[in-house]
Symmetry: C2
Subunit: 454 residues, 2 copies
């Protein structure tokens, strides 16, 4: 049996590649060593969103209480929440399995490895089988990485996988790494009442964002009494007498019930025969050409190629490679602008080029900006901190970022606006609903532009 398409990895990239391939009439096999859904469904985006969703009443109540409009108490039962998360994940995986079945995709459970030209092996506890392919898509994803001294021990020092599988929420938490993963999980812990300490070697939280976004986030976290330690290097963290004890290079020690190490994720690309097949790697990232090809008839998508660690980027690449394999396109891959979102309260969204990046590239650049306080929906939710910022170059919108109440709402619209390169003229063509948080984007588009000084 020779498959038109074999996909290794059933995360957002691999699953979507298999489904899209089958949709084009290809005979497809999908190889997965664990469960359907990959990191995003099982150990990442989805469980975090269920945590944040379940606790959102706590935040809403908190904000209205500050205005003396509401009072009361919301208690979220962490055990019940974890049971609900598991139930949801089981349901999601079941639905995914049924979709594969309906489309005639063969699910091969086991570890997939390249096994010579046009062949892979799939190893599980029952043995090893070989499978022939015409086209292979490697979508093996990523896993948490650690610096020496920061390895999780599964006791009090946890990676994000372990953190999401806890039985109870700690009453104090140290988060090492102030990126999106650490910050979303810290927000959830905060809502459960945990005292939060965040440590990062960089000089700001969310260091991939616009610096003003980082500043706004930090100011919210400070108001929540988080201890934010920036430009601090960690020499080690370990479990001592049932507590997580973190030692900074300065010598200072910090103690908490748990420590979450979220300093980054790296591709899962070792030991599956990629190098042996002549595929080039850099920092474990599979190097691909403009068609997302790593070698003849072998594609790599998603976190495995290291281009963009986002589920929706992987899914978009998946659709491209499937249509390419099915002969529907021979154009090179173009992602267009890719939005990113930090959920919680506040939220962050970003798409396209940021002010600091434009400056670095020597682009002629202007920004226009409004505060969320001017928006009635932010006012209605008593969550008025934050702003929307539009980056312009050559008279066109090249980037949008925002921080504050529900700014994730702006992400898809902003993506379309950046993709279409709106000019001042375009702003008046589309009617935004009133009132809506979306109008803060409209106001930012209309606001006076300031030239970015070098």
């Amino acid at each position: 049996m020779t498959y038109d398409l074999v996909v290794i990895g059933a995360g957002p990239g691999g699953f979507d590649a298999a489904v899209a391939g089958a949709g084009y009439g290809l005979k497809v096999a999908l190889v997965e060593k664990d469960v359907l859904g990959g990191t995003c469904v099982n150990r990442g985006c989805i469980p975090t969103k269920l945590w944040l969703g379940a606790t959102s009443a706590i935040e809403e109540l908190h904000n209205q209480s500050k205005m003396k409009v509401a009072s009361g108490e919301v208690n979220v039962d962490f055990t019940a929440l974890q049971a609900r998360v598991q139930k949801h994940l089981v349901g999601t995986r079941k639905a995914m399995g049924m979709q594969l079945k309906k489309l005639g995709v063969d699910l091969l459970e086991g570890i997939g490895r390249l096994a010579g030209k046009g062949k892979i092996s799939v190893e599980n506890e029952d043995g090893t089988q070989e499978v022939d392919y015409k086209n292979l898509v490697v979508a093996t994803g990523s896993k948490p990485i650690f610096f020496p001294g920061l390895e999780p021990d599964g006791e009090c020092v946890l990676d994000s996988d372990m953190f999401l599988s806890m039985d109870s929420m700690p009453s104090s938490l140290i988060v090492v790494g102030a990126g999106f993963i650490g910050l979303e999980m810290a927000q959830a812990a905060h809502r459960f009442g945990a005292k939060v300490t965040v440590v990062d070697a960089m000089d700001r939280v969310a260091p991939l964002e616009d610096p003003e976004v980082s500043k706004a986030l930090r100011s919210v976290f400070k108001r929540w009494k988080w201890d934010i330690k920036l430009e601090e290097r960690v020499s080690g963290v370990r479990t001592v007498d049932g507590k997580a004890v973190l030692t900074l290079e300065s010598g200072e020690q910090i103690e908490a019930d748990k420590a979450l190490v979220a300093v980054g994720r790296g591709p899962v690309t070792q030991g599956i025969g990629l190098e042996e097949a002549g595929i080039e790697m850099q920092f474990n990232q599979i190097q691909v050409d403009e068609n997302l090809m790593a070698a003849k008839n072998i594609y790599a998508i998603g976190d495995a190629n290291g281009q963009m660690q986002l589920a929706h980027a992987a899914a978009h690449q998946a659709h491209y490679v499937a249509s390419r394999i099915a002969g529907k396109t021979d154009a090179p891959y173009e992602s267009g602008p890719i939005p990113s979102v930090l959920y919680g309260a506040p939220e962050v969204m970003r798409v396209g080029l940021m002010q600091n990046e434009a400056f670095l590239t020597d682009m002629d650049c202007e920004v226009s900006k409004v505060q969320l306080a001017a928006n009635p929906m932010a006012q209605a939710h008593a969550a008025t901190q934050g702003f929307v910022k539009v980056v312009w170059s050559g008279g066109k919108v090249v980037g949008v970022t925002a921080v504050g109440h529900e700014v994730s709402r702006l992400a898809t619209t902003s993506t379309m606006i950046v993709q279409q390169g709106w000019t001042a003229e375009d702003i008046y063509k589309t009617i935004f609903p009133h009132p809506s948080l979306d109008e803060s984007l409209l106001m930012a588009l209309k606001a006076d532009r300031q030239k970015v000084e070098g």
Copy 2:
């Protein structure tokens, strides 16, 4: 002193026309008989959103409680909320006033009336002044209308203005009219614990929406134990012994603490000299040509021309007439698709042509649809009832509607998609963030299409 532009009415249409005109360098006067902001700011969209925002924790808690994930109690202090609404409105009006001042727009307080060619009079308690204009924009808005027997008495029978100014929330409420205004206010009352009865002469709630949306809404309201009386005509409602007593044509009587009559709104266009100036009216709506002109140099925008009773439609018309008067365009007015949103939980959004409307126009039409239950963000908020439906014609998207958790998020993106007439190809060009409620729209766009049968 002759103004380039005089605007009567400082609601979303008139205010924006004045601001846009001044932005174009015109000398502008804005005439307002009451306060800045009109119905939307003072007696409509904004106070309702503050009510819904302040009570959203109640809904969130309710949903998570049903899943046995959360428990507790949220109490919203209606008196404190009403004080906050007033404070917000004062702040909004003050900001609007400052904006006018900064732009050099003269605010003339009083009743504006047409007073012969190129002249209006402005009457207030200090007397009457005459003002000359080169161009006039009539943006006098709308007010609640009533059928005989349904007139509010200000005691227990209220219109929406009175309802929003109440000192306390009634413990039982009859809403006459199941349109957006009545349904948003009923939702707020429901969250405060009021027993709600809704009466409408039509055979469904939200009768301007897709019939499936009406059905989904009704099913949610029924679960909340609302008494929904459809195809019922009201012969009268009045205050009897401190209660609102409503009599149906069937003879049945219903009693509640208050009755809200929200059967529609009609233009405020009488007694200000419009007919005398030769302006044509139909049902009090000012008739305008394709340039929104009612007579030479006289424009009518917003609720006053009756084309679309939505603040953002008025604001869009305002921008057009200002740019026309400033000589920036001589093209006829084109609104593009206009989104509408019902806020609350569930929400409703709609833009473009609906399935039932397409059928009526004999258009060749298909629909694609997904349930919200498949969306992880709806799952995270334990609010999975609802759907997203896309209407296609000639291979292009011509309409989108949705009902359920936070579907207002889809409104702006959907407006752009309908405006741009997306085909199947376009769906894969833009990356939607994952996870997001927006993906339910993406899934609906990708879903199998069903031909609409006649």
